[in-house]
């Protein structure tokens, strides 16, 4: 039976997959040719870019490579774009490419780099390096930014200078500055970026390589040379466009509480938040709901504010780090009662698997209960005692709990549905702060012959792990799954182009369907 299953799986036709595009960057207002590496591409018949002002024409398709021509209007917005390919086996994954404003050049040995230039390159073989030249003046600040085409390729950039001080050979080059990425941390880019203040005028060399010698198909990149240090966004992840309730970089100011209420079934009209400018001395008075802000500009600095609670209630603490963030700034927020006992903290502590060691994680949100009225102290500090900088700016929101629907996720990037078959699609939904009302979810805009059938709701309760600490303080107590069955009729028409149905999720609020909190379009094709 297993053998038969294996045969069946082996006989299944794999979906086409894209790996990377080369050249990776194109200048707005130009037409140029690209090669797109991948697998199962022989029958590809078209390409798709969902971007105004971009036209893509497939020139040639081979099993492992597509040749295409891209035309960019001058009006195209610079930035990251995505491209998919379409064929009889369906739609591919998307690979990223870039539109830039700068002059674009192809890779050439010892190509002279100048600020404002973008160079497209690729490392076709493991261990390959690309070398460029740059002339610089003393005191000039140069930034070299290497952007990779896919997440699997991690580029490294090195600035070299002539090894004039080498007794062994003055013809060689030596490493002057090196940076893989400014900061390696989950959520931050692994693109390489190096800023260097040139001490001595002269000719330098820039080397682009792959981390630990990576190279091969998909290892394409573009190198951008800039003047000046540029932004710090490289050390600061951007909040994603979807719902980021547990990210230290979402914005807690403005209408954050309004957004929470929009996702919930309970109308709560709190007074506008009171903002306290957290002083270095720290003492302030915080009302509910309230926002505490401050800068831990020196190591070991501790900020404190008084919090007066008039009745027992369920509260939530949310923390934002708008400037420096994890892992450089790791804010610990703790609420103490009048006796100094810890009432709440954003540090989730649990035991490791064998129960021997405590493990700690700081969280951007925590919930807790105040059982007795009185004065409490809110304390903010960095988790280390030796780190503190003016960029260690925090914003802490303390508020009553607002029941609402949190993150809703659909893992699939694309769906290729076979005629006559059923495909299961599952959404993951998080209920926040004891949200108990129903939630509606459906898929709209399906092509003819494809129907969505109601899914069964999966169990919602999961027992906490042993030694897990009070995890429910930090993550939703209930994570819920929605299951849909997409059924393709036997006589359904094959799709020639990508259909873009959408998943829609609406909470129920005061016994009415509220506005959608998720409308996610996804590519879908019906294939043989």
């Amino acid at each position: 039976m297993l053998w038969a299953t294996g045969l069946a799986l082996g006989a299944a036709v794999a979906e086409p997959v894209l790996q990377g595009m080369n050249p990776l960057a194109g200048r707005a207002g130009t037409t140029y040719r690209v090669a797109i590496a991948g697998t199962g591409l022989a029958a590809i018949r078209g390409l798709s870019v969902e971007e105004a002002g971009v036209r893509v024409r497939l020139v040639e398709a081979a099993a492992d490579r597509l040749m295409a021509e891209i035309t960019l209007d001058t009006s195209v917005t610079p930035g990251e774009k995505r491209i998919r390919a379409v064929g009889p086996r369906g739609v591919t994954n998307a690979v990223t490419w870039h539109v830039v404003r700068e002059t674009v050049s192809g890779e050439k040995p010892e190509l002279m780099l100048t600020p404002g230039l973008v160079v497209n390159g690729s490392l076709a073989e493991p261990g390959e390096v690309d070398l460029y030249a740059v002339e610089a003046k003393a005191g000039e600040v140069l930034t070299f930014e290497v952007v990779a085409g896919g997440s699997a390729f991690d580029p490294v950039v090195t600035l070299q200078e002539p090894a004039a001080d080498s007794w062994f050979s003055t013809k060689g080059w030596k490493r002057l500055a090196f940076n893989d990425e400014e900061l390696f941390f989950p959520g931050l880019t692994t693109q390489a970026r190096l800023t260097h203040v040139v001490q001595q005028a002269g000719r330098y060399r820039v080397q682009v390589a792959g981390f630990a010698g990576h190279g091969g198909a998909g290892a394409s990149y573009f190198l951008r040379v800039g003047s000046g240090a540029g932004e710090r966004r490289w050390r600061h992840p951007m909040a994603r466009p979807d719902w980021n309730e547990r990210s230290f970089v979402r914005q807690l100011g403005g209408d954050w509480m309004g957004k929470l209420q929009a996702r919930g079934g309970v109308a709560l009209s709190p007074p506008p938040p009171v903002r306290l400018a957290g002083t270095e001395a720290g003492e302030g008075v915080l009302a509910l709901p309230g926002i505490l802000e401050g800068r831990l500009s020196r190591p070991a600095m501790v900020h404190k504010a008084r919090l007066h609670i008039e009745r027992a209630m369920q509260l939530a603490i949310e923390i934002e780090t708008p400037e420096a963030t994890l892992p450089e700034f790791n804010p610990v927020v703790t609420v103490f009662d009048a006796t100094g006992r810890e009432v709440a903290t954003n540090v989730h502590t649990k035991r490791n698997n064998n129960g021997l060691y405590m493990m700690k994680m700081i969280q951007a949100k925590t919930t807790f209960a105040i059982t007795a009225p009185g004065d409490y102290t809110v304390q903010v500090r960095d988790i280390t005692t030796d780190h503190g900088r003016p960029e260690f700016f925090y914003r802490v929101l303390i508020r009553p709990q607002i029941p609402h629907v949190g993150r809703v996720e659909m893992p699939e990037d694309r769906l290729n549905l076979a005629v006559g078959k059923v495909r299961l699609v599952t959404l993951q939904l998080e209920r926040e702060e004891d949200f108990r009302d129903p939630v509606m979810a459906t898929i709209e805009g399906l092509p003819p012959g494809v129907t969505v059938l109601p899914g069964a709701e999966n169990p919602v309760e999961r027992p906490p792990l042993q030694n897990a600490g009070r995890i429910e303080r930090y993550i939703p107590k209930t994570t819920q799954s929605f299951s849909f069955l997409l059924n393709v009729a036997e006589g359904a028409t094959l799709t020639e182009t990508i259909a873009w149905p959408r998943v829609v999720v609406r909470p129920v609020k005061e016994q009415r369907l509220a506005a959608p909190i998720l409308e996610k379009r996804f590519p879908l094709m019906v294939v043989q």
Binding site: W167, F168, G210, T334, V347, R351, M358, G469
Partner: protein, 834 residues
């Protein structure tokens, strides 16, 4: 006895008259009537040698205050000043002393009265009751380090337990106050009842009488030892002793109290020779030279240990040459050689020096052009200039980054199982070396690291925060050159490190935590003591417990000072402040760097400093450490000092007097090249680059490989960059502190015969050999280039003649040349630094 000594003395071939005599100690202080002081009467000779005249001298002392024995032992009788004089022929020397008889000084003290007997008779030696668990149910501290504990085990009885402070079993005293003669302590030691350790003393001995009198008096402990009266260290005179065969020399052992008071314990000390065939030692502390060689004498007394180096020297060297000195290193080394009657080898030839210094400072062979240029140069300062050029070169940065990445254990598995983290850590080391960061700063940064900085990654072996005890033990070994691990489970059996000291030091690392959950985001911090941070939810506490007493430990320095860091401070800062200023730090550092240039440390192994493993040149070690400290812990300056010395620049060719020497730096000792350096050298000679794969798929496809031109010494992590060759030649995986033995093995031999490194590179079309053959270069030209590249010297005319003839005789020139290059690469001259 005296007649025998006189005969032995008279039989020595001392032709020369002394140039001076002196008495050791030259001053003395006795604090009670009955206290004694041993003297040594020493004659000094023109060749730097000394003779012990103690037993042949005539002794006298001012009457009334004290008396002096024939063997130079003074015993105090009454308060006052006294002068002791020793006379031999027309030579005499005196020492002045003071005797006090202050109240309280006469009191009985368990340590000095009973503990010294237990030490002298070997009862508390590590092999007997001083072992980890004691012996036969009786546990004593080594050399009576903890007299209060010893007292309780003897007086109260009971068996020691490693994991508990409770005594095991019923407690039966080992003395009998009602019937003192029946005390087990006496009956066992005299062999009256069965005793695994045999008879230790007789019933009519002084030891027996002392212990019996003590029991009869009720077995008191005497006044408690306070911090000032505790013995701090043991000093032995002389520290280094050179004797001719059959010659004798008395040792003088002095206990130094914490309050500065000095007490002669020569008679109470236990002496053990490391090699009796070279030098034996009597119970009284008299060394007897037996055969040529060098050994050490271990001395234990008053809870402490010390060692003396004894060199048994050969015949005097006629017309001992005046050897030039380049710097203070030479003063210490050459002075000892002179005393040992060894003549340093000649200064190395220019080519020999150049290859050696290039490999030692940069791990790189000198290019042929540079060799010829250097040899041709008439510049008297050319060695100094090339040293400066090498220290300022990028190759220096690469090489010393590699060496410290070894020591500091840069490896994927040692640094959180994340190559990005080992890169962060490795880059911190590289930057420190490139900027010549003061080494105390580098150590401080590593010891105190918090947050997400590069050095924090070394606290995350296998992706977890290392245990406090293991982390501490490694830091102490790296920065103090000492191994405290034994004291983790029990008081160190051979040293004075106690279990309390071990755990007190470990407590500095006891609050370390990692923040993070995914395995990619760990931030290192020290848990505050005044905040729970969620501990209550999992019933957790932040504390380090003593494994035996279960008491909560506070961070405590080795000197016993408890650091009262507030609950929020990083306690490791106080530790780092203390460590980098401690003499251990500088002496361990200079010793480690010394070993890189001389093939062995002044203390060897370099991370095994202990009183029983003395430095070969203690004064040199102290001076180097002092210079290093005064120079701002400048590694480059330290290395420069070492390689500028004539000692470093001596030839590897031994002389008749120093051929057997392995420890006194009389000539350069050939050292196997480190695996990475050897591989780079082969690459240089063959002209065929080595590429290291990092990732190979299940189908054998290489997806990651080091860039062309990357040298083996530039590889950061041994567990990321695969190389069969490097592993065979001793590249450590850095999962523990690396120990490169350099020992040859069968795998290396097989690799030479059939391995790709030694064979494929010779056949590679792009390589030096095939290119030269293709170009039509003559054998003579190629031979010269090969010698200059591989060996750093041109071939000698005899070598040229023989090899060119052999090449011409072979029908296949390509095969002949491949054989020749292979032979050179496999030769010791190539594979060693000499």
């Amino acid at each position: 006895m005296r007649a025998v000594l006189l005969l032995a003395w008279a039989s020595l071939s001392w032709g020369a008259e002394p140039v001076a005599v002196r008495l050791e100690p030259s001053e003395f202080h006795l604090y009670r009537a009955g206290a004694a002081q041993q003297f040594v009467f020493v004659a000094e000779y023109a060749d730097g040698s000394t003779r012990d005249l103690t037993d042949v001298a005539q002794w006298s002392a001012a009457p009334g205050v004290g008396t002096v024995s024939e063997g130079g032992r003074v015993t105090a009788r009454a308060a006052g000043t006294m002068q002791v004089t020793a006379k031999w022929g027309r030579w005499q020397a005196s020492a002045k002393g003071q005797v006090e008889t202050a109240a309280g000084e006469e009191q009985f003290r368990f340590r000095s009265a009973i503990g010294s007997i237990l030490t002298k008779r070997g009862c508390n030696s590590p092999a007997c009751h001083g072992g980890v668990k004691g012996r036969g149910g009786l546990k004593l501290s080594a050399a009576s380090l903890f007299p209060r504990d010893d007292y309780e085990w003897i007086v109260q009885g009971g068996a020691y337990q490693v994991l508990s402070a409770e005594a095991k079993g019923e407690r039966k005293p080992r003395i009998d106050r009602q019937n003192p003669e029946a005390s087990l302590l006496l009956r066992k030691a005299t062999g009256a009842v069965a005793h695994g350790g045999g008879k230790r003393f007789a019933m009519d001995s002084e030891e027996y009488r002392t212990i019996l009198a003590w029991v009869r008096q009720g077995a008191p402990f005497g006044p408690a030892e306070d911090d000032t009266s505790r013995v701090r260290s043991l000093e032995v005179y002389p520290k280094i002793l050179s004797l001719e065969k059959t010659q004798q020399h008395r040792l003088l052992v002095t206990a130094v109290m914490a309050n500065g008071r000095r007490e002669d314990v020569t008679a109470q000390a236990l002496y053990v020779s490391s090699d009796k065939t070279i030098a034996a030692i009597s119970e009284a502390g008299v060394v007897n030279a037996a055969a040529l060689g060098e050994t050490s004498i271990l001395v234990r007394a008053a809870g402490q240990a010390a060692a003396v180096i004894v060199g048994v020297i050969g015949e005097p060297v006629a017309n001992y040459p005046s050897v030039p000195r380049q710097n203070f290193i030479d003063e210490f080394v050459f002075e000892k050689l002179r005393r040992l009657r060894m003549v340093p080898s000649a200064l190395s030839q220019d080519a020999e020096f150049l290859r050696r210094v290039c490999l030692d400072l940069t791990g790189t062979l000198p290019p042929p052009g540079r060799v010829e240029e250097f040899v041709r140069s008439r510049d008297p300062k050319k060695r100094e200039r090339v040293i400066d050029a090498l220290i300022g070169s990028p190759e220096y940065v690469d090489f010393w980054t590699f060496r410290f990445q070894d020591l500091f254990r840069v490896a994927v598995f040692a640094n959180g199982i994340n190559p990005k983290w080992s890169q962060m850590y490795g880059e911190w080391i590289r930057e420190s070396i490139a900027k010549n960061k003061p080494y105390d700063r580098m150590a401080w940064e590593r010891l105190t690291a918090q947050g997400y900085d590069g050095p924090t990654r070394h606290f995350l072996p296998y992706d977890v925060i290392g245990s406090p005890e293991e982390t501490m033990a490694e830091e102490v070994r790296v920065f103090f050159g000492r191994r405290l691990e034994c004291a983790q489970c029990h008081n160190h059996p051979y040293e004075t490190w106690s279990q309390d000291q071990f755990w007190g030091l470990a407590a500095f690392f006891g609050r370390m935590f990692k923040m993070g959950d995914t395995g990619n985001e760990y931030v290192v911090f020290d848990h505050p003591l005044d905040e729970a941070m969620g501990n209550g939810e999992v019933n957790g506490k932040i504390q380090v417990l003593h494994p035996r007493t279960k008491a909560e430990l506070r961070p405590t320095l080795l000197d016993g000072k408890t650091v009262m860091a507030s609950g929020r401070e990083n306690p490791r800062k106080a530790l780092a402040d203390w460590m980098v200023q401690h003499p251990y730090f500088t002496e361990a550092t200079v010793n480690r760097i010394w070993s890189e240039f001389f093939g062995r440390g002044l203390v060897e192994p370099v991370d095994d400093f202990r009183s029983t493993n003395p430095a070969t040149h203690p004064e040199l070690l102290a001076r180097l450490a002092e210079e290093f400290r005064r120079g701002g812990h400048d590694l480059r300056a330290l290395m420069r000092t070492m390689v500028m010395s004539r000692t470093y620049q001596l030839s590897a060719e031994p002389s008749a007097t120093n051929r057997a020497d392995r420890v006194n730096y009389s000539h350069a000792l050939p050292r196997p090249l480190l695996a990475e350096v050897l591989l780079d050298a082969i690459t240089t000679v063959t002209g065929v680059e080595e590429r290291f794969t990092t990732t190979v798929t299940a189908t054998g496809k290489v997806t990651q490989r080091t860039p062309a031109g990357m040298r083996a010494i530039q590889l950061r992590e041994p567990d990321l960059f695969h190389s069969r060759f490097l592993d065979l030649y001793g590249r450590p995986n850095r999962l523990a502190l690396p120990e490169r033995t350099g020992k040859a093995n069968l795998g290396q031999a097989l690799h030479m015969l059939a391995g790709s490194i030694y064979n494929e590179k010779l056949a590679a079309p792009e390589g030096w050999l095939q290119q030269e053959l293709k170009s039509g270069a003559t054998d003579a030209t190629m031979l010269r280039t090969l010698y200059l590249t591989a060996l750093g010297r041109p071939p000698a005319s005899a070598e040229s003649h023989e090899l060119l003839g052999a090449l011409a005789a072979r029908p296949d020139r390509n095969e002949a040349w491949k054989d020749l290059v292979w032979a050179i690469l496999c030769s010791r001259e190539f594979a060693e630094n000499h």
